[in-house]
């Protein structure tokens, strides 16, 4: 039977994609479903792109355990999947005595969590390492294992490697309900029909609560989306002295507004943290810009507003789950469990920060849970953990660029002038194992349209390329799926057979 899977993973964000990728190692028939037109469009698409060292998660919590474990996994994982990763280290910056006490607390917590290399440095040392830091800094916590990641690239690489290893990916496929036999899950009902399976992994991100409620699991668990707004600075105008992440001391609202480098070369400022009602409300606001800007300025006074080239907001899937160890007083933990109420569900929920960092460890934990539940996982002899990244023109030196154009002239045509993205890169993504079919899908993969002109130059060209490669009219090309068409109709269009030359005369 075609639609009988061993495991169905709901949600192709970073967590679902990595779960699918790690599970693809075994002789399992796996289906990964995603309600959107592309993978990684939810929380994975808009966050700080930070790989956290793990010093601020509450000791003993799922967040702390998976974070610290995942930090050990990322170097190898990024090599296997061809994901960019820079373990540049990060700082929590203190500006007064009170902050210094917080640093001591973070240091103690970090040590308890097993974070290696933590060190408190004084103000002079901080100013020496980053002269752009506010001049009255009195000290900082230095975490050498913090780093910069690429949440888009990682999600795409993980899902692609999963697909290479036999996982079936279905986009535009929204979970509607479980198919139950007594208290056993035997499948899922979606807007694209029913799919049967033995196990379901709930990796639905912001919607994880709604998914588990359909199985009557954790009725009290609720995700309250917490919106974070960000500002991106022009890379030609502003850079930190060397790549790093600068955090303020954390508050009850989270890790605070950071100023950080990104692997794409821009400095990012943000996020704030405000609860919103809707899981789709990714609005940017005047108040948010003000809040983020003030926060960023507190750390690095020399940033100026003229350097802002983009703003966006993302949602965190903030839950209310207590830590599994009842002795820990913490009620915002990750859920990583096989619940007792039903059979056949691996339940993940409340995966907010440090979810991106923790994702590989969560995936490994899913495998352990399945094994604990008696699932015999047999490795495939032909599993290929390697995914070779496609060429990124701007990362190559002149000789390599010349060679690439000689091999394929499409790399000799620049489509995005600000970010130096070539036609060759766009074509490669449209024809990749997981094809990029929308403007935003190409944007997330190639980084075109993210620069100072924000797509003004490339968009007409990308519409042309998508139209001709997909064999659809330009009016059918979308920004991010159905309903987001970029163009409406041809100008001066005369319907066929509607008018003849004789009529006109």
């Amino acid at each position: 039977m075609n639609d009988l899977y061993d495991i169905i993973v709901i949600g192709a964000g970073i967590v679902g994609s990595l779960v699918a990728r790690f599970l693809s190692k075994y002789k399992l028939n796996i289906l990964l479903i995603e309600k959107e037109v592309d993978i990684g469009m939810g929380t994975s698409s808009a966050n700080s792109a930070a790989l956290h060292a793990g010093y601020d998660a509450v000791p003993g919590s799922n967040k702390a355990i998976t974070n610290v474990k995942a930090v050990e996994m990322w170097p190898q994982l990024s090599k296997e999947l061809g994901i960019q990763y820079d373990r540049c280290g990060d700082y929590v910056v203190a500006v007064n005595d009170e902050d210094m006490l917080v640093l001591e607390e973070l240091l103690a917590r970090g040590k308890q969590n097993g974070v290696p290399g933590l060190e408190i440095i004084d103000g002079d040392e901080m100013r020496r390492r980053e002269p752009l830091i506010r001049p009255d800094v009195v000290g900082a916590l230095w975490a050498p294992t913090g780093g910069l990641g690429d949440p888009f690239g990682a999600t795409i690489a993980a899902a692609e490697n999963a697909v290479m290893n036999g996982v079936t990916l279905k986009l535009n496929t929204a979970f509607e309900d479980f198919i139950m036999e007594d208290s056993r899950i035997v499948g899922v009902r979606t807007n694209q029909g029913d799919f049967h399976c033995r196990w379901v992994v709930n990796a639905a991100g912001l919607y994880a609560d709604e998914v588990m409620h359909k199985a009557d699991v954790r009725p009290d668990f609720k995700i309250r989306p917490r919106r974070g707004e960000y500002l991106i600075l022009d890379k030609a105008d502003f850079q930190l002295t060397r790549p790093t992440l600068l955090f303020p001391t954390p508050s009850d609202k989270g890790k605070g507004i950071l100023v950080a480098s990104t692997l794409h070369g821009n400095v990012i400022v943000g996020p704030n943290a405000n609860y919103v009602e809707s899981k789709e409300n990714k609005d940017v606001t005047n108040e948010g810009v003000q809040e983020v800007w003030t926060g960023g300025n507190k750390l690095v006074p020399s940033i100026i507003r003229k350097h802002i080239i983009a703003q966006f907001a993302g949602l965190r899937a903030t839950g209310n789950a207590p830590a599994p160890n009842p002795e820990i007083n913490y009620n915002q933990d990750f859920i990583i469990e096989i619940p007792k109420e039903v059979q056949g569900l691996v339940n993940l929920g409340g995966i907010e920060s440090p979810g991106f960092t923790s994702a590989p460890a969560i995936a490994v934990k899913v495998i352990e849970l399945l094994e604990d539940a008696g699932e015999t996982l047999e490795e495939k002899p032909d599993w290929n953990p390697l995914r070779v990244p496609r060429p990124v023109f701007r990362h190559l030196n002149r000789e390599e660029q010349a060679d690439l154009i000689a091999q394929d002239p499409a790399y000799g045509r620049i489509v995005c002038r600000c970010e130096t993205v070539t036609e060759g890169e766009i074509l490669a993504e449209i024809h990749a194992p997981i094809p990029a079919l929308t403007y935003d899908a190409i944007k997330r993969r190639t980084w075109l349209g993210t620069g100072r002109c924000q797509g003004g130059f490339d968009m007409p060209r990308v519409v042309q390329i998508l139209s001709s490669e997909l064999g659809v009219p330009p009016e059918a090309v979308t920004k991010k799926g159905e309903g987001s068409e970029l163009l409406f109709r041809q100008t001066k269009r005369v319907e066929k057979d509607h008018l003849s030359v004789e009529d006109l005369l």
Binding site: I232, A236, E280, N281, K282, D283, V284, T285, N286, G288, V289, I308, I309, A310, Q311, F312, R398, Q401, A402, I405, A406, P409, A410, G412, R413, I414, R417, C418, T420, Y439, R452, C453, Q454, G455, G456, F457, M459, P460, V463, Q464, P474, E475, T478, K479, K480, G481, E482, G483, S484, E485, L486, L487, F488, R489, Q490, T491, K492
Partner: protein, 424 residues
Amino acid sequence: MKNTYDVIVIGSGPGGLAAAIAARENGAEDVLIIERDVELGGILLQCIHNGFGLELFDQDMPGPAYAQHFIEKARDLNIQTLMDTMVLDITPDRKIYAINKDRGYIFLEARSIVLSMGCRERTRAQILLPGSRPAGVYTAGTAQRFVNVEGHMPGERFVILGSGDIGMIMARRLTIEGAKVERVLEIMPYLTGLTRNYVQCLLDYGITLQKQRTVNRIIGRDRVEAIEAVSVDERWNPIPGSKEIIPCDTLLLSVGLIPENELSKKAGVLLDPVTNGPFVDDHFMTNVPGIFAAGNVVHVYDLVDWVTEAGYAAGKGAAQYALAERLVKGPQIDLTPGENIRYVVPHRLDKDHLAEEEIRLQMRAITPIEERVLVTVEDQNGEVIAKKAEAYARPGEILSLVLKPQQYDAVQKAASLTVNVRKR
């Protein structure tokens, strides 16, 4: 194809074409234009409306016709071209690295370079427009390319933010194509584009312009569904009770242009933070010897005719530099913005240049003065060296004043020059 040229011009818009032509006419033998698109003419090719050439030719031409005039001249002068080619890097010693599909990686050297990359449009992020991020938010120029070059409508029901020229011209264009332009909103208390465009593009088509009003929020998940408009005071604070939801499917932005100087920076060219273009002298040479800049890459002009004129001056300078390796003969003097002037181009003058020919100064006013004004060039003691009367001064329209050879003596004696615009 050779690798060394007397003059290499980057960009084939009106500034670049004029620079290349002037370079040839002033003795440069080998002149090359590098163009990133597949045709010469730059943004003129999508400007199918008329209004080009009134100042230089006393003719009213559409953009492509204006471009064609110069394209043909360039062809007659055997100016070489490298099309569909993107320059990736320029060094201060005038080496150029570029790529295209046919030749792959290209390395060139020039005795002088004219930068004429034009400008780009300010985007939604640069004005920090709040709300969702759906399809249907375009800069006016991108919409213009879609409609006039690609032949596609980017929407049916528009709100246009900003009374810049491209926005007003697109309001008319879209109306002609059968779309509905609900409103043009302008956050400033005055028009930011040309008065003639307001009359010909908005008034004549019954399109409403609302000043001191802006977009407060973009609404819609996948495609724009509406915008929320709000009135603002002089400090851009929203006025309570003035919000209005305007249903629409597209928001066009005409909120300013920024000279495109990423390559200039790589070449070590210093930029004026006010114009966002290079500091230039009266030959349009930048601080880097042998690197010139012409057109909207220097500052944003409101008429193409002045871009062409600047291109000619830059091309002539570039040819002279290429042939003589020397251009500035005597002392230079700074030109600085004075009363109610935001900037002046050029930023400095070659004092002796005035003996040979007239030099045009171009300025933008800071605030509008809707009565007769006097534009003056004054020395350090407030002595008026040159003046010109105008009917008004508006930030949307460039002020222009020509220094003449008869002012040579006064300029020679001056230690500095300021430009002012005041009520008469």
